[in-house]
């Protein structure tokens, strides 16, 4: 039990040191903008349908849930605002980030892990290049930018999912649904949701590149790296969600008096 705990702490520490090395490389010898754009394009194209669809259904689910709750109070008019607020602030970023950890995280980890066990990373070093600069940094930045974009796109789609379900399931017309969104969903809520997206994207990029880069032990090792990427990112995202929620509530209390 104690060994398992120290192993986890060891892994987290090594991951932080790895991120420090990536940041240091970005500062001292940055990769080309072209390689980052290539990664952004690749990740976004590969993954856009999944978070868009997930976002759509998260919005729809939230609307169904809220309908059941607020119908009893005769406050169905506020459905759009409440559902969108809940999705944008909490459920949306969390669920879409989970989805991305499976899609983008697992793919990147497997790709880098395969490069490691087939000695491609050693070959890069032997050919006089820095593998962090050549293959990690473009992926790291690419994943952050595109995950943030994909999460934001998923959240945007959640409004449509909620809107459709509001009309079909709750019998509320779209105008009415949209009317109360600005009343309840403040800029702070949107900012809070986007901030969470950014933090989740950072965790995803850090864990999957670290796990892939440090994979050892052939095909089995790559499998292990992919599994631990999925587990670590999900745990990391949940913990970060709790922390960012706490942070944003505190900020809300301090600067806006809990509005």
């Amino acid at each position: 039990m104690l060994k398992a705990l120290t192993d986890i702490l060891d892994d987290i520490g090594a991951c932080i040191l790895f991120v420090r090395e990536v940041v240091r490389t970005a500062w001292r010898s940055p990769c080309t903008l072209e390689s980052v754009c290539e990664q952004i394009w690749k990740v976004t194209l590969q993954s856009l349908p999944a978070p868009a669809m997930a976002g759509f259904f998260v919005g729809a689910i939230m609307t169904v849930q809220f309908t059941m709750q607020i119908k009893a109070f005769g406050a169905l008019g506020y459905l759009g605002g409440l559902s969108t607020s809940g999705t944008v602030r909490e459920v949306g970023p969390l669920l879409i980030a989970f989805l991305l950890s499976g899609k983008v995280g697992a793919f990147t980890s497997a790709e880098l892990g395969t490069m490691r066990v087939t000695e491609q990373i050693d070959a890069i070093r032997c050919l006089g290049a820095n593998p962090i600069q050549e293959i990690i940094l473009p992926r790291f930045l690419g994943i952050i930018v595109s995950s943030f974009f994909l999460l934001a796109a998923g959240l945007f789609m959640s409004i449509f999912g909620g809107l459709l379900m509001g009309a079909l399931f709750s019998g509320i017309n779209p105008d009415e649904y949209l009317r109360h969104i600005p009343t309840i969903v403040s800029f702070f809520s949107i900012g809070n949701g986007l901030f969470k997206c950014l933090v989740f994207a950072l965790i995803l990029a850090a864990v999957c590149t670290y796990k892939g880069f440090t994979a050892t032990g052939g095909a089995k090792g790559v499998g292990r790296a992919v599994v631990s990427t999925a587990v670590l990112t999900m745990v990391g995202i949940v913990v970060a969600d709790w922390f960012t929620s706490l942070l944003s509530e505190t900020a809300l209390d301090m600067f806006w008096g809990g509005v």
């Binding site: 490069m115 087939t118 000695e119 050693d122 070959a123 070093r125 032997c126 050919l127 006089g128 290049a129």
Partner: protein, 248 residues
């Protein structure tokens, strides 16, 4: 030119290399033979700094490279080209881009035309034509190994390190690769270290052979000298080589 002085390497409690000492004069082909898991690849990776020895010194042109930092290893890696056990070609790059990769890193002053010419020259050295535009997964494993060889020689290293270059290849391709190693070493006047368990090939092309067992040098000598060896492991290797020759 390359000298190992009492080199030891451990992974945790396990000692893989137990005080290795030998030297390779310039222009020679040295074969390091041993069964799997005896530390042959570890030995090779210590030369280019992919691993660092626990103790001892590795001298290349009188410079101890054993404790150099990553950025200090750049000139050493320009000097030493390594061909890996796997072809280790970059999946996302074409054959041309693979061969040009090291060239662009080591010689940024080269124009695109010069890079193209050098890539073609290196591919023809390993007897490959019309494959520049292909992706690594579109060519055979043997061809991938040759591309890997071309990529390594592209930066004109003075030392060539081969990590089991013929593992996983059929006998015909194995012979072709062995011939290539010999041709390249002589044509480019390089010092070559070949890690292998192929005694037949070692007898054909090596100037000197070292037999490694459990992290220690147990036997060494010229191919002719080793044929008279009384060491059990060397005799086993020789028997295998004779059997293989007989089969041909």
């Amino acid at each position: 030119m390359i000298e190992f002085r009492e080199v030891r390497k451990s992974f945790g409690e396990r000692e893989i290399l137990k005080g290795i000492t030998f030297s390779v004069p310039e222009g020679q082909i040295l074969f390091i033979l041993g069964t799997s898991g005896t530390g042959k690849s570890v030995l090779l990776k210590n030369i280019v700094g992919l691993l660092q020895p626990t103790s001892g010194a590795i001298l290349i042109d009188e410079v101890d490279v054993s404790q150099l930092k990553e950025e200090q290893l750049f000139p050493i890696r320009k000097k030493c080209g390594m061909v890996f056990q796997h072809p280790a070609l970059f999946d996302s790059l074409s054959v041309f881009e693979n061969v040009a990769f090291g060239l662009r890193k080591h010689s940024p002053e080269l124009t695109e035309k010069e890079v193209q010419a050098r890539v073609r020259e290196c591919l023809s050295l390993v007897h490959l034509i019309d494959v520049e535009d292909k992706m690594p997964q579109e060519i055979s494993y043997g061809m991938q190994k040759r591309v890997s060889l071309a990529r390594t020689v592209a930066v004109s290293p003075r030392i060539l390190l081969f990590d089991e270059p013929t593992t996983g290849l059929d006998p015909v391709t194995t012979r072709a690769i062995n011939r290539l190693i010999f041709e390249l070493s002589r044509k480019l006047k390089t010092t070559s270290l070949v890690v292998s368990h192929d005694m037949q090939c070692a007898l054909e092309i090596a100037d000197h052979i070292i037999v490694l067992d459990k992290g220690e040098i147990v036997d060494q000598g010229s191919p002719e000298g080793l044929k008279k060896s009384r060491h059990e492991l060397t005799k086993d290797f020789l028997k295998e080589a004779l059997d293989a020759e007989g089969a041909h």
